[in-house]
């Protein structure tokens, strides 16, 4: 019997779904085992088709994205109601993702910039007809509904998806790997790391073999969960932390800051200089996880 699945797109880019499509020929084995009851990009079923399904009648649901509008939140709750097993698919769904950096601003400031202040806009107004209301802040979806499985990554790389999907199809619960990105990164690390200066991504030409953090680039490896295959550091750029916090890490940004603070050579750079050299602390250290860090709570309290 085919497995009944629904793929739900909340506020997101569809990159997690593209990564699923990037299973390529493996897809040909997976597709015939699925009965897709909702996937708006691929199949023409409408919202009312989902509403009509009996509760708990869908075997597995995958949610991509976070809740930006009331419509997203409605769909998320509907998915929870209809699915036996709900998978938080990708980093937006699991931790909030990078577009949740809008949490640094009030929602009205975002709408104002886009519809009133953008240089190319000619008739300034904020849309309010037939469009769902914006939610004030992005929260991780798990604060709205209960999940059975989290599969982070922006997007999760195809091998990780293949692993998870095949175990789900076998009726087994997949287990995520439990180490940090550094453990799967092939770059050569010294026993003791000290850095004299923090470099920005465009500075100089990094050594292709050596640990990027050791070379002064902010590489999020120590604070990030493994599972992507270290694709970025293999391609010559630092990890930006898109897999989210490593195991047993509460706040990815805070973890990375403390990792960085412990390797700086304070004879060459003072703590003040170190902080000043990072011009965008939140965007650098919590690029993908702001809503699940301790930061937005502080902002909300101040209000």
């Amino acid at each position: 019997m085919p497995v009944k699945v629904m793929f739900v797109q909340l506020a997101s880019c569809w990159g997690c779904h593209q990564s699923l499509v990037d299973l390529h020929e493996t897809l040909a084995d997976v597709l015939p085992q699925l009965e897709i009851v909702y996937w708006h990009t691929v199949v023409d079923y409408k919202l009312h088709d989902v509403e009509k399904l009996p509760d708990g009648s869908v075997d597995v649901g995958f949610t991509e994205g976070f809740c930006r509008t009331e419509e997203d939140l409605y769909l998320l709750k509907l998915a929870r109601q209809k699915c036996k097993l709900l998978v938080s698919y990708g980093t937006c769904s699991t931790y909030g993702g990078s577009p949740a950096l809008l949490n640094l601003y009030q929602i009205d400031e975002g709408l104002k910039r886009k519809f009133m202040e953008a240089e190319s806009v000619v008739d300034k107004k904020i849309p309010d007809m037939h469009v769902p209301k914006m939610l004030e802040y992005v929260k991780p979806n798990r604060e709205y509904v209960k999940y059975d499985l989290f599969l982070p990554g922006c997007p999760p790389e195809p091998p990780l998806i293949a692993e998870v999907v095949t175990s789900l199809l076998r009726g087994e619960m997949p287990k995520l790997k439990e180490r940090t990105l550094c453990d799967e990164c092939p770059r050569v690390k010294s026993e003791v790391i000290t850095i004299k200066k923090v470099k920005r991504a465009f500075e100089g030409i990094p050594d292709p073999e050596k640990c990027l953090l050791e070379q002064g680039y902010i590489c999020m490896g120590p604070a990030t969960r493994e599972g992507c295959g270290a694709v970025c550091t293999r391609a010559g750029v630092p990890c930006r932390g898109c897999m989210g916090p490593g195991p047993n890490v509460l706040d990815q940004g805070a973890k990375m800051l403390s990792a960085l603070a412990s390797i700086v050579d304070y004879e060459s750079v003072s703590p003040e200089e170190l902080v000043q050299s990072v011009k965008d602390v939140v965007g650098t250290f919590s690029k993908f996880t702001l809503p699940s860090s301790i930061i937005p709570k502080a902002v909300s309290k101040k209000k």
Partner: protein, 440 residues
């Protein structure tokens, strides 16, 4: 609203990436009074880019679209380079071009086979349960396997150049973080051989679809609009630093061909109260007269010719059948095939260029500065405009983005209004000639 007036809501609009509903307002006689294409989401990248390090913008903005992250990555990094007045090495520019062609291959194959083809192959009246990629797969597994192979080839090119197949990371102000090795080049050339073989089949499918549906393509939802697209002296392109932006009016006259940095004189955004996506238009003509379209059909309309020989032959065949300008919305799918051919030919040309394996791909002397930088490339679904203002520390102070599909929102709405009237008032679907479905 009187009692007999009615509103039909299609929720959500399906087989598109993104979020939209369609609201059709009917009068008491069942006629179509109005149709609104309501895009129901925006994530406001323009705002949260403020305060970010400019070199991180190329990491953030691909998250605008997971199907076409490459043009966002490339356009983003080049807008930073424009603001900082940095010229990347020529080998880096060629790598970016190759990555763009790879994405064009995978996105066009996905759009044609997964988003568009099911309507034509199963027929528009088929049940939703079979009128989709999975349905096509069950009935035409060989076709879907070929489609998957084409998508794989495009994504492999992207991954090899960009480090990842979705959300590439190698574009850094001043060049590319990763060079292409000789072994990688040879492997990609083999994939291009494979892609060329697959194109014969794809063109055959497209020809059959076009022949079968010519009546529908040329009669349903046809709307005259302006068109916009990049070109180099009239030659079609999706990525070229020297390219200018051409605009064609609904009669087929080229009414502008402007340098990228002047975009604000020509590009206007109209805010529709019912859509979180703005309606982009040709500013000198005003709104709604200046509504334009971008993407494959628009690029073919504005171009005098294609850059590569086989694509040029296909363009000739296209023009002989539907003319120039072609206003038929459904012809987008055919235009996509012409562009797919060019992307494959262009990828071969780039891979055969000895400079593609150069190790000089990144400048070491990049310095941030205060500046205002504009970059424009062609994403698979349309012209993509990035404008960043940076301060002297290289932090983004302001960002203005015109995203590819946005160019088409107003015309999509117009086209659907025409089609809704044709179907609901004239019942044109009962008069048009439809071919037998490929499968039932």
């Amino acid at each position: 609203m009187s009692k007999k007036e009615k509103t039909v809501v299609i929720e959500p609009a399906t087989r598109l990436e993104g979020h939209a509903n369609v609201v059709i307002e009917l009068d008491e006689k069942g006629g179509v009074k109005d149709l609104k294409f309501c895009v129901t989401l925006t994530r406001m990248f323009e705002k949260f880019l403020e305060g970010r390090l400019a070199e991180e913008a190329p990491i953030l903005t691909p998250r605008i679209c997971g199907i076409c992250p490459v043009p966002h990555h490339v356009c983003s990094v080049e807008a930073v380079e424009a603001a900082w007045d940095v010229e990347p090495p020529s080998a880096a520019v060629k790598l970016r071009d190759l990555m763009m062609q790879g994405k064009q291959i995978s996105s066009h194959a996905l759009h044609f086979y997964a988003l568009a083809a099911p309507d034509f192959l199963a027929g528009p009246f088929a049940d939703p349960s079979i009128r989709n990629l999975v349905g096509v797969f069950k009935h035409m597994p060989d076709a879907v396997k070929k489609a998957i192979a084409l998508m794989r080839i495009g994504q492999e090119i992207v991954k090899t150049i960009g480090g990842r197949s979705v959300h590439p990371v190698t574009g850094v102000p001043g060049g590319q973080a990763k060079r292409l090795t000789e072994e990688e080049r040879d492997r990609l050339l083999k994939l291009i051989d494979e892609a060329e073989g697959l194109m014969d089949f794809t063109i055959e499918v497209a020809r059959k679809v076009v022949e079968g549906y010519l009546d529908v393509i040329t009669k349903l939802g046809v709307v005259p609009t302006y068109y916009v697209g990049l070109n180099v002296n009239g030659v079609h392109t999706i990525y070229d630093r020297k390219a200018t932006v051409r605009v064609m009016d609904p009669e087929g006259k080229i009414v502008a061909d402007f340098p990228k940095k002047d975009y604000l004189q020509y590009v206007g955004e109209h805010v529709a109260p019912h859509s979180y996506a703005t309606h982009i238009f040709f500013k000198p003509a005003g709104y709604p007269e200046g509504i334009w379209r971008a993407g494959p059909l628009a690029r073919l309309n504005v171009a005098d010719k294609m850059e590569t020989p086989r694509a040029q032959e296909l363009l000739k065949e296209f023009r002989d059948a539907v003319g120039r300008p072609c206003h038929a919305t459904l012809a987008y799918n055919w235009a996509r095939i012409v562009e797919l051919m060019e992307a494959i030919e262009k990828a071969r040309k780039l891979l055969e260029d000895p400079e593609i394996v150069s190790s000089d791909v990144k400048r070491a002397d990049v310095r941030p500065r205060e500046g205002n930088g504009v970059a424009i490339v062609e994403a698979p679904r349309g012209t993509l405009i990035y404008n960043y203002w940076t301060d002297d520390e290289g932090v983004i102070r302001k960002a203005n983005l015109i995203v590819a599909t946005n160019n088409n929102i107003a015309a999509v709405e117009k086209s659907m209004l025409v089609a809704a009237k044709q179907v609901l008032e004239e019942r044109i679907h009962e008069k048009l000639k439809f071919p037998e479905p490929w499968f039932k």
